[in-house]
Amino acid sequence: MKKLIYSLMFLLTLSTFAFAGGSQESKSSEDTKVEAPKEVKEIYCWHAFSDAPRSKWIQDRADEFNATQSDFKVVVEAKGSYRDTLQAAVLADKQGAAPHIVQVFEVGSQLAFDTGIFKPIGEIGSFDTDDYIQPVLNYYTLNGKVNSIPFNSSSPILYINKDKLVEAGYDADYVPETFSDVIELLETAKSKGVEGAKFSFCLHGWYFEQWMSEQGAEMVNNGNGRDARATETMLNSPAAMKIGEFVSELASKDLYTYTGKFEDWDGNDAIFAEGKALLHMTSTADLGNIAAACEGKFDMGVGFIPIPDGSERNGTVIGGASVWIAKNHPADELEAARDFVLYMTNTENMVSWHKLTGYYPVRNSSVEALKEEGWFDTDAKQLVAFNQLLSTKINKATAGAVAGTLLDNRTIIEEALQKIIQGADVKASLDEAKEISDAKLDEYNANF
């Protein structure tokens, strides 16, 4: 009996090997897919939105595009975070199964470029990019070529608790223009006993980048990495010192608050929305959410972000993402992919994208259409964001840095700023940040 049981188990074990490959079923279905008559070619589009409204918007555009012609079928897939999406695309390309269209976040531009799996979209036939808002397109133009088409773009704006502003004795429409205005406003409010006389932006390297750009200062050398591969960071430049000193002053005078966690967008939004801070700073894309969260609690206003004293407002850098086209595909598929990208970012679609999400419509014609429609009259707060973007000067600082280690850079900046908040010397902290960041950059550049 025992023997029988054991031999049965043995057989069972052996039989599992037959399925150990695990791909029996999927393989056969893939085979049929490949062997099926190829009337309709599939165009894969990978994006990084995990939420229903935004992914549905993209799916809807794909459905519309598919209905307009019968040669190609755009297949939309969400691939997790921006990082995951890019990593997945790189791995897929190695296996010869790269998607056609990939959404890449702005600081990943150099990484995406260096992977070598993409083709500058400007090289796929000829098409007109004049209508794209220049500062936005600027970010994604590398070596004079349009590499990718901007899709979801945003920049930071200042959020103000107007109730507290009035309580501090200021006019309800007052917007602090410079760092010292901010300090003065918060100190006045504090001395008048206003609860939460604080600035509550989350501890994120993105703001550091913005403040560098506002001063016309570059983050990395070689023309912000746009003339040649960056080899050095500017984390302890005079412009950087101004930012460090501002944060240091805010913290030492107890005028700054945050959750304590790096890059904690939601936690810091909650601090502002619960009325625990007078000033807040976050992306324009959050305007809708924060306005809704403040509704009924206090009167919320917005303005341009404050800039360092004595510098001329140079403009913010674009945040968000753009869409790239992977190169290892036949020419007709590349053109179809390009056509879909252009369709997705056409005038009407960017209008509806903006209304849905708060991201900038990346076309001038979309902005015009919104103006004609009276969209900005009903929601004047959105206009502040636009004006800040449209008044951005076109230069290498506002074009944004490109370097392989921008993400490491953010972490290093955040650690340095946190040290400064805890009372460390500004110069020493930024010097150390630069040393580490340069070493990271060297390490990355050594790959080439």
Partner: protein
Amino acid sequence: MSNNNDNAVFSGRWQIIALLLPTIFILVVFLYFPAWHSILMSFFRNNLFLGTRNFIGFENFKNLFIGPFAPAFIQSFFQTIVLGLLTVVIGLSLSLFLSYQANKNIKGAKIYRMLLIWPFAMSPAVAGTIFLFIFNPEVGVMNNLLEYLFSVKPRWLDSPILALMLVTFATVWKNLGYNIVFYLAAFQNISTEPLEAADIDGAGPFRKFFYILLPLLSPTTFFLLFTNLSYAFFETFGLIDILTSGGPVGPPGILDNTGITTTLMYKVFSDGFGGSSNMGFAAAEGFILLIMVGVFAYFQFRSMGKRVHYQG
């Protein structure tokens, strides 16, 4: 097992090998091969995005101990040990105490037991998010309460000591259920005879606990010691990522080279998959972590294995 063939369940060597094959296959494919691969990788300059693979010998290891990356690595190395020890010591003593109490014959004991075990069923992501909400310094429930009662608002997430305490607490709490299940089972397996004998001899509850229960529980403790240590090393990643993102950096001058809750596991991840994805460097860190766990395991089995008392 003896070599006596009459007693052997399995008749031949080949049968044994055949039965072991599936396990060995899984171990090789999912454990040994990846481990070997990552050890090899630590000798290369390897970037995940670029797919580069240049042999650089021991440079990744050198960078761990010399140069600008070294202070952060060395700090996180010691933090890993500290967090590991705190988790094991606090976690095991607390769960031993709680399961001792929950094992008593009292009304509603089953409900207590269930409630004690329940946190284990929660995913680290959910647990981390809940803690994050509770301990938000400005709008969290904890500080609202503390401000109302004592007018203090501790900075839970960016004061180094508090952040470390919070992460330790969350880690211990999250794994409490697991430990309690094992201790409860162990308590219920202990026969009453030695305890009755002790009663007759006039031993107090203290003596009974330390001289009878504790030794009888030692096999379970020994097992839990290792599982908890590996939990603290490897599985706290999710909690840390969501709760502190590895921060905060320590006070100026001391432990300010990296976040105070950046364990080696977290650092391996953030160097290898975060930032510019320097996989070779991360693999070198992983190799050190592997050695560290190996050393712990060796000492544990050598020193503890002798003292463990297996009943019956």
